[in-house]
C-alpha cells in the first residue's frame, strides 16, 4: 500500500520536511511580526507618554483622552482595518494605526496610575530640594511611575503580538500570514509553527520586560 493515497486527507500536525525547507519563510514572518509589534509599542509610547504627563498635570484632559482612546480600544481590530482600507490602503499604515491606538489606551491608563501613586511627601521633598517642575518629572515622578508603566507595557506587548496575526487579513500579519496559509491550504504545519512561535514570542517578551523592569526599578518588588 502506498504511503499516501491521492485523496488521503490525513495531514500530520507537523510535516518536518516542509518545516526544514521553509526556515527562511518562517524567519521572515517572525521578523515582520517583530517589526509590526515594535512599531506599535514605540508609537504607543511616543503618544501616551506626553499625553499621560499632560493629563496628569491638567486634569481636565484626563476624561476626554481616556474616553476617546477607550472608545477606540473597544472597536475590534478587523473593524478598524476595514474602515481604514479605503483611505490608507492595504499595508503597514493601516495595520499600525489601530495597533498604536490600542497601546496608547493601555499605556495612558498605566502612566496615570503610576504618576498618581507618587506620594505627596516625595513631591514636597523634591520641591524643597529645589527641583524645577521638568527635573522633578524626569528624575522623581517618572522613575517612581515606572512599575506601573512597565505593567502596561507588558500587557500592551502580549496583546499586540496576538493582534498582529490578524493583520494577515490586510496582507501583512507576520506569523499570521502562516496561519492564513494553513487555513487556505488546509495545511497544518504552518498553522502549528506560527501558533507556537507567536505564543513563545509573547511569553518571552513578557518575561524579558519583567527582567528589564527588575533591573530598571530595583526598588520595586512587583514582578
Amino acid at each position: 500500500m502506498p504511503d499516501r493515497l491521492f485523496l488521503d486527507i490525513v495531514d500530520p500536525w507537523i510535516n518536518w520536511s516542509w518545516l526544514s525547507t521553509h526556515v527562511p519563510t518562517i524567519l521572515a514572518a517572525l521578523q515582520e511580526h517583530l517589526t509590526l509589534t515594535l512599531v506599535a509599542l514605540v508609537g504607543g509610547l511616543a503618544i501616551s507618554l506626553p499625553l499621560g504627563v499632560a493629563a496628569h498635570r491638567w486634569t481636565t484632559l484626563r476624561l476626554p483622552s481616556l474616553t476617546t482612546f477607550g472608545i477606540f480600544y473597544t472597536i475590534p481590530s478587523i473593524s478598524l482595518f476595514a474602515l481604514l482600507i479605503p483611505y490608507t490602503g492595504l499595508g503597514a499604515v493601516t495595520a499600525e494605526i489601530p495597533l498604536i491606538g490600542y497601546n496608547v489606551l493601555i499605556l495612558l491608563r498605566n502612566i496615570l496610575v503610576g504618576l498618581d501613586s507618587v506620594p505627596p511627601d516625595v513631591l514636597d521633598a523634591a520641591d524643597g530640594m529645589g527641583y524645577r517642575p521638568l527635573a522633578r518629572l524626569i528624575r522623581i515622578e517618572l522613575p517612581l511611575a515606572l512599575p506601573a508603566i512597565f505593567a502596561g507595557l507588558r500587557v500592551a506587548t502580549v496583546s499586540t503580538i496576538g493582534i498582529v496575526t490578524i493583520t494577515a487579513v490586510i496582507g501583512l500579519g507576520g506569523l499570521g500570514q502562516l496561519i492564513l496559509k494553513g487555513l487556505i491550504e488546509s495545511f497544518h504545519t504552518p498553522l502549528v509553527v506560527a501558533t507556537v512561535l507567536s505564543i513563545a514570542l509573547a511569553l518571552v517578551a513578557d518575561r524579558g520586560l519583567a527582567g528589564v523592569q527588575r533591573l530598571a526599578v530595583p526598588w520595586s518588588r512587583e514582578s
Binding site: 472608545i71 480600544y73 473597544t74 472597536i75 475590534p76 481590530s77 478587523i78 473593524s79 478598524l80 482595518f81 476595514a82 474602515l83 482600507i85 479605503p86 483611505y87 490600542y102 493601555i106 491608563r109 496610575v113 500587557v155 502580549v158 496583546s159 503580538i161 496576538g162 493582534i163 496575526t165 490578524i166 494577515a168 487579513v169 506569523l175 499570521g176 496561519i179 492564513l180 494553513g182 487555513l183 488546509s186 497544518h188 498553522l191 506560527a194 501558533t195 507567536s198 505564543i199 509573547a202 511569553l203 513578557d206
Partner: protein, 235 residues
C-alpha cells in the same frame, strides 16, 4: 462617488435588509454566536475563579494558565478549531469560549481575593457560614471586578466572532471578509461599521447591567475597582 456616499447607499438598499445575507439575519447570527460563547465561558470560568478566589488556593496556577491563554492569538484559535472540527458553528463557539475564559477567571479570582479580610472576619464573627458569607458578603463586593471580566470577554468575543467569517462563519464579519474578497469597499466598510457598533453596544449594555448589579453601598468604591480591572484585547 465618495466611499461614504457608497456606504450610505449600501445601507439604504432594501436588498441588504432581507434574506440570509441581510443585516437582521447577520445580526442574529453574530449575537447568538457571541452570547452562547460568553455564557458557556462564564459557566466554566466563574465557578473556577470564584472558588479559587474564595478559598485562596491555586491562585498562581489560575493566573498563570490565564496568562498563557491570552498569549494564544485569537486568529490561531479559530483556525485550529476549524482544522480540528471542520465547518459549522461548533468550532466557532468552542474557539470563542476558549477566548472568553481567561479574562473571566483572572478577574473573578482577583475580585474574591481583594475582598477586605476584615470584612470576612466580621462576617464570620456575625455567624455567617461559608456559603452565606460567600453569597451575601463576598460576591456583592466582588461584582464590579467580576462584571469587568465578563465585559472584557464579551467585547473580545464579539470582535473575534467577526473573524469567524474567515472560517465560513456567519455574522457581520461576512460583509468585511466578502467585501474584501470582492473588492467591494462599500460592503466591507459597512460591515466594519456594524461590527464596531455591535462591540460598542456590547460594552455599553454590559456596563449598564453592571450598574444595576453593583450594590448601592459599594457604588462609591466603583471608580478604583474599574481602574484595577484587568482589561485585555485579543482581537
Amino acid at each position: 462617488m465618495s466611499i461614504l456616499a457608497q456606504v450610505i447607499q449600501w445601507f439604504t438598499d432594501p436588498a441588504h435588509w432581507q434574506g440570509t445575507d441581510g443585516i437582521p439575519i447577520r445580526l442574529v447570527e453574530h449575537v447568538q454566536l457571541s452570547a452562547e460563547s460568553v455564557a458557556l465561558g462564564a459557566l466554566i470560568a466563574l465557578p473556577i475563579g470564584i472558588g479559587l478566589g474564595h478559598f485562596g488556593v491555586f491562585g498562581n496556577l489560575a493566573i498563570g494558565v490565564s496568562n498563557i491563554g491570552r498569549a494564544v492569538p485569537s486568529f490561531a484559535i479559530l483556525v485550529i478549531a476549524f482544522q480540528v472540527f471542520g465547518l459549522g458553528n461548533t468550532p466557532i463557539i468552542l474557539a470563542l469560549t476558549a477566548l472568553a475564559i481567561p479574562p473571566m477567571v483572572t478577574n473573578s479570582y482577583v475580585a474574591l481575593r481583594e475582598v477586605d479580610p476584615d470584612v470576612k472576619d466580621a462576617a464570620r464573627g456575625m455567624g455567617y457560614r461559608r456559603p452565606a458569607q460567600l453569597v451575601r458578603v463576598e460576591l456583592p463586593l466582588a461584582v464590579p471586578l467580576i462584571m469587568a471580566g465578563i465585559r472584557t470577554s464579551a467585547v473580545q468575543v464579539v470582535a473575534t466572532a467577526a473573524l469567524a467569517a474567515l472560517i465560513a462563519g456567519g455574522g457581520f464579519g461576512r460583509y468585511i471578509i466578502d467585501g474584501l474578497a470582492q473588492q467591494d469597499y462599500a460592503k466591507e466598510f459597512a460591515g466594519a461599521l456594524l461590527v464596531a457598533l455591535l462591540a460598542l453596544a456590547t460594552e455599553v449594555s454590559l456596563w449598564g447591567v453592571e450598574q444595576l448589579l453593583v450594590p448601592r453601598g459599594i457604588r462609591l468604591l466603583r471608580a478604583p475597582a474599574a481602574a484595577r480591572a484587568r482589561t485585555f484585547k485579543t482581537a
